[in-house]
């Protein structure tokens, strides 16, 4: 029995023992570490059997990109180099993925916008690339501060979007992300968003499995579109067959192709539910009629606000959205059944999450949706501000909160 087990042990190219995603994420013994979000990216990539990564400097994601480079030197990543710009990088990453590599890259703010033409291309070409997006404000005026406006622009690119609250979330989501994105019936890109600086640059406790085990390597031959390596049929293949001829067959082909990308995101739900342990996380009094709907560090701050409100004698809860695409529609609708007030605190001026919440609750909730508090351009969102806003807007007396 023992021998059989030993014979079935598989190692990846880096010499790490390959384990199941469930074992790596849920069952393996975990050790407590203290690290930044950027370091958590490194630790996740180290255990993810990553084949390729291309980098480009931009604050605040640069450190994560440097650390992936160190992993390349150490033999944990197969291909790594610095590209010429984010536009070039995202195209290079696309090439890596088309050639059959598990690929990850990172960017922030203006870099995201520079790269933009590539994101719908990634989705249309059905590559399971993972982009760790460390959100930062966009120009002008020039800012390097945390602000997640850019996520609004990405919502309809055909990429999945997950949003990490903490370094631990980021670590878990990167690993789970490859597993979900590479499912043959999903196989679309994943943008793993996280608030720049708040998570990338702050240290917190992160529980890590051992680093001598790793995810099963990517098998490009299970992809729904043929890998471009001249090893598998069909040959004589144009990746991606553009359908720009002027006839109804090509219109219909293009429309159904785009629809299929969105359907693929929908098909990721059960996998994401399993590997993320649900698409949402609830915190606070389940029966509360004051509900915060938030993602990223806005949900962390809202959790603190729930504690402050408790001191004020006000019951509240937080619905943290772990995925934005697919949007956790049913989960949200169920969790706001008792809600009278729904607050959507955000780190951007436009309130893109408020729009999303309104869109998916329309006709499903009588609660008042309040896009507040909203900060931007690098401002912080102290829990006291959130609590005061809630007390003011719900007509309650402010007792203790300063």
């Amino acid at each position: 029995m023992q021998t059989t087990k030993e014979q079935s042990v598989i190692y990846n190219r880096a010499g790490q023992r390959v384990v199941s995603p469930d074992y790596l994420l849920f069952e393996a013994p975990k050790e407590k570490h203290f690290m930044t979000g950027s370091e958590a990216v490194k630790e996740a990539v180290k255990r993810a059997s990553v084949d390729a990564s291309v980098s480009y400097p931009i604050t605040p994601q640069s450190e994560a990109a440097h650390l992936i480079g160190e992993l390349w030197v150490e033999g944990y990543v197969g291909v790594y180099f610095r590209g010429e710009s984010e536009f070039g990088v995202m195209s290079e990453v696309a090439g890596c993925a088309m050639a059959g590599a598990r690929t990850i890259t990172t960017t922030s703010g203006p870099g995201t916008l520079r790269a933009f033409e590539n994101f719908p291309m990634w989705a249309g070409t059905r590559i399971p690339v993972q982009l760790v997006l460390m959100a930062r404000g966009v120009n002008a005026p020039l800012t390097i501060q945390p602000d997640n406006l850019e996520v609004a622009f990405l919502l309809d690119t055909g990429c999945m979007i997950w949003y990490a609250e903490t370094a631990q979330d980021l670590f878990d989501m990167i690993l789970a992300g490859f597993v979900v994105a590479e499912k043959p019936d999903v196989h679309v890109p994943l943008i793993t968003a996280v608030d720049g600086f708040f998570v990338s640059h702050t240290r917190e406790a992160v529980y890590l499995p051992p680093d001598d085990i790793a995810l099963p390597p990517y098998d490009p031959y299970r992809a729904p579109l043929p890998v471009i390596d001249a090893e598998v049929p069909p040959g004589r293949f144009l990746r991606d067959p553009f359908v720009m001829k002027s006839n109804y067959i090509s219109y219909a082909t293009h429309a159904s192709w785009q629809w299929e990308v969105r359907s693929a995101i929908e098909r990721s739900r059960p996998y994401a539910k399993h590997y993320l342990r649900g698409l949402v996380e609830e915190f606070g009094d389940p029966e509360a009629d004051i509900v915060f709907v938030a993602c990223g560090t806005a949900s962390a701050q809202s959790k603190e606000a729930v504690r402050l409100l408790e001191d004020e004698g006000v019951k509240a809860k937080v619905i943290k959205l772990k995925t934005i695409r697919p949007f956790p529609v049913e989960e949200l609708r169920n969790s706001v059944k008792n809600a009278k007030y729904i607050f959507v605190p955000e780190f951007n001026v436009i309130g893109w999450l408020e729009r999303e919440v309104r869109r998916y609750l329309y006709g499903h909730s009588r609660a008042e949706v309040i896009g507040s508090p909203r900060v931007a351009g690098g401002m912080t969102m102290p829990p006291e501000v959130i609590a005061k806003e809630v007390l003011k807007l719900t007509g309650k007396e402010v007792k203790h909160v300063i």
Binding site: E84, C96, A99
Partner: protein, 286 residues
């Protein structure tokens, strides 16, 4: 690879047009000595391709495709334009991604294929027009040269944005009137072949496609050098007869005229490239 991946599924063979079956039955693969002399018997491009009658790009396509030393393991990366419409009509693995990112995509593909298949030869060839190579894609083109990517870049220079209706490009000759340059182009044609040398290409050639055998020789050298040393660049004049007001049977004369002036044959090879070229000559492959 196995040639089998390029074979038409037997169950579908009755439904496949004859000219597509010809791409398989008349292929000259598996022989690095293949070349343009096979063209009377071989087929590289469907008759019903999307280029205009008499377009020199269709000649260039046939000569290049007949000359690839390793077609069964060659990936072609293209870009948007007249050329991109042709790729469904040839017999190779091709990628269309965005307008101008072809050398970046090719860099990613080449590096990963080298890593995944260290013991196999996989040639990566970029084939794009002048707008894609020199205007919108210049950054990605030159940066791939700087990085010494082992890819061959072929530019089909028709000195105009043809597919969008005849607008001035960076490779338009100074003074020529096109759309978006209604007073004539105000600045000189970009000497892309010289930029390629200065940016680190190990083999560079500039020519028209008036001589099939010369195209074959240049393409083979460019691919062999890219395989071993680093980036190579081939600049081909493929005039847009439509946009310069010529008839379908005028293209060859137009190219022969330019052979004597701005497209007179020019070739550059670094010392490392010379070594490869001489060795391949000794092996009878050039």
């Amino acid at each position: 690879m196995s040639y089998k991946i390029y074979e038409i599924n037997e169950a579908l063979i009755d439904f496949v047009p004859q000219e597509i079956k010809d791409l398989q039955s008349k292929a000259t693969w598996g022989n690095p000595k293949r070349g343009v002399m096979d063209l009377p018997y071989a087929k590289e491009l469907l008759e019903e391709h999307s280029l205009c009658a008499g377009c020199p790009e269709s000649m260039a396509f046939r000569y290049i495709l007949a000359s690839l030393p390793n077609p069964e393991d060659t990936i072609i990366i293209n870009s948007t334009g007249c050329t991109s419409l042709v790729f469904p009509h040839i017999a190779l693995h091709t990628v269309h991604s965005l307008f101008g990112n072809q050398n970046a995509v090719a860099s990613g593909i080449k590096r990963v294929l080298e890593w995944r298949f260290p013991d196999k030869v996989k040639d990566v060839v970029v084939l794009a027009g002048d707008g894609a190579t020199v205007d919108i894609g210049l950054d990605c083109t030159l940066q791939s040269f700087f990085r010494q990517e082992k890819i061959t870049t072929i530019c089909f220079d028709n000195e105009v944005y043809a597919n969008t209706g005849g607008q001035e490009s960076g490779l338009t000759v100074k003074g020529h009137v096109f759309k978006m340059a209604p007073k004539g182009k105000q600045w000189e044609k970009v000497p892309m072949w010289q930029l390629a040398i200065d940016s680190g290409c190990h083999y560079v050639a500039r020519l028209t496609v008036s001589s099939p055998k010369r195209v074959e020789s240049v393409i083979k050298k460019a691919i062999y050098v890219a395989r071993e040393i680093g980036p190579t660049y081939v600049h081909l004049y493929t005039p847009c007869i439509l946009e310069i007001g010529l008839n379908s049977d005028d293209a060859l004369e137009e190219m022969r005229a330019r052979d004597k002036e701005r497209f007179n044959f020019f070739e550059y090879a670094s010392s490392q490239a010379e070594e490869v070229i001489n060795r391949k000559k000794e092996e009878g492959l050039l």
